[in-house]
């Protein structure tokens, strides 16, 4: 059976697309799926760094597109930790026009039969880089944060995905801060669901562990103590078709939270 081709996109930069791809890729591989992540952000590659694989790059996406390297497999970098996880890095020294949507389709077609999942890390923006990343995808995940600018861009991207016949994108709400939601200073999941009206795939709490994991080049999904890692593990299970309840965040503090507050005399 041919693999699933999923593009992770957002419109706005800096909302956590690359972190999401790294964690979903690693999470799916932990479940023994054969996964390849493609960094489509030509000129600003980052997925290699987030994965801790930056020293192993020989060939990149442009080399594959231009057939400078003999086979696609030569350009695939095997993950340090998981033998069934691979990365096709972006070129760092070229620009977004170095690859065409037709070439992306060709590359993905060549990988489809060998992998269960092909995850594509889309660059920010809505130009050629977006067209490339989306061209071969049959599913889309939109990442946003609970901020006006990010949600606005997500809405625009959802419209553009529809034009590319990706009619049912799912949503990951990243960097939610339950404390701010409780105070009424951050939009909650319900507000954003109401506005964007697409299926929610997961909520990822803001977590310092993400910065630490990027420092180390180890996705948080591997860390059992990271809240964000737990959220990504849940998202992976949902991608695989499991019904997983959403982590409780925001709204009223739970029993334990109220107990803590009592202890602190607040």
């Amino acid at each position: 059976m041919a693999g699933r081709v999923v593009v992770v996109t957002s419109g706005k930069g800096g909302v956590g697309k690359t972190t999401t791809v790294a964690n979903l890729g690693t999470g799916l591989a932990l479940r023994h799926k054969k996964v390849v992540m493609i960094d489509a952000d030509i000129g600003l590659r980052n997925l290699d760094v987030v994965m801790g694989l930056e020293n192993r790059i020989i060939y990149d996406l442009v080399d594959v597109a231009e057939k400078t390297c003999r086979s696609i497999n030569k350009a695939l970098i095997k993950d340090k930790r998981l033998s069934n996880l691979f990365l096709l890095p972006a070129a760092q020294t070229r620009n977004k026009d170095a690859v065409t949507p037709e070439q992306m389709i060709e590359i993905v077609e060549a990988l489809k039969d060998e992998f269960d999942y092909i995850l594509i890390d889309c660059p920010a923006g809505i130009e050629r880089g977006f067209d490339n990343a989306v061209a071969a995808a049959t599913e889309a995940i939109v990442v946003t944060t609970p901020e006006v600018s990010a949600v606005r861009d997500a809405d625009r991207i959802i419209g553009l995905l529809q034009e590319k016949e990706l009619y049912e994108p799912t949503l990951i709400l990243n960097r939610l801060r339950p404390d701010m939601v409780r105070k009424g200073d951050m939009m909650d999941v319900d507000d954003i669901n109401d506005i964007l009206a697409i299926k929610l795939l997961g909520i990822v709490p803001d977590d310092e562990e993400i910065i630490i994991s990027t420092n180390k080049g180890e996705p948080a999904v591997l860390n059992n103590h990271s809240k964000a890692g737990e959220a990504f593990r849940n998202i992976v299970r949902r991608i695989e078709g499991e019904e997983v309840p959403f982590m409780s965040m925001g709204g009223e503090p739970g029993l334990f939270g109220r107990f803590l507050k009592m202890m602190h005399g607040k």
Binding site: R152, D155, R156, G159, G184, D185, D188, D191, I195
Partner: protein
């Protein structure tokens, strides 16, 4: 513990601003939809009155708190019988 808040929580503002922004954004993007609508309006109205198709102006306007469809359709002649 803070009992009284000095201002309304900023989330409310975020939601309200977003709603309006998106009315503007979505209206601009859906030009294809407006073209379809324009064609159907011309067909419907032409049964009863002769209109100047060149001069038709159809816009989706979003103002303060609402969105409205504004159509300006110059009539050349009212038909006497249904054709």
């Amino acid at each position: 513990m803070k009992i009284f808040r000095e201002e309304t929580p900023s989330k409310k503002q975020a939601v309200e601003r977003l709603r309006l922004i998106l009315v503007h954004d979505r209206a601009k993007v859906s030009t294809g939809l407006l073209e379809l609508l324009r064609g159907e309006i011309i067909n419907a109205i032409s049964k009863y009155v002769e209109i100047d198709e060149e001069e038709i102006d159809i816009e989706l306007n979003a103002s303060e708190s609402k969105a409205e469809l504004v159509a300006n359709i110059p009539v050349v002649r009212v038909r006497r019988v249904l054709e």
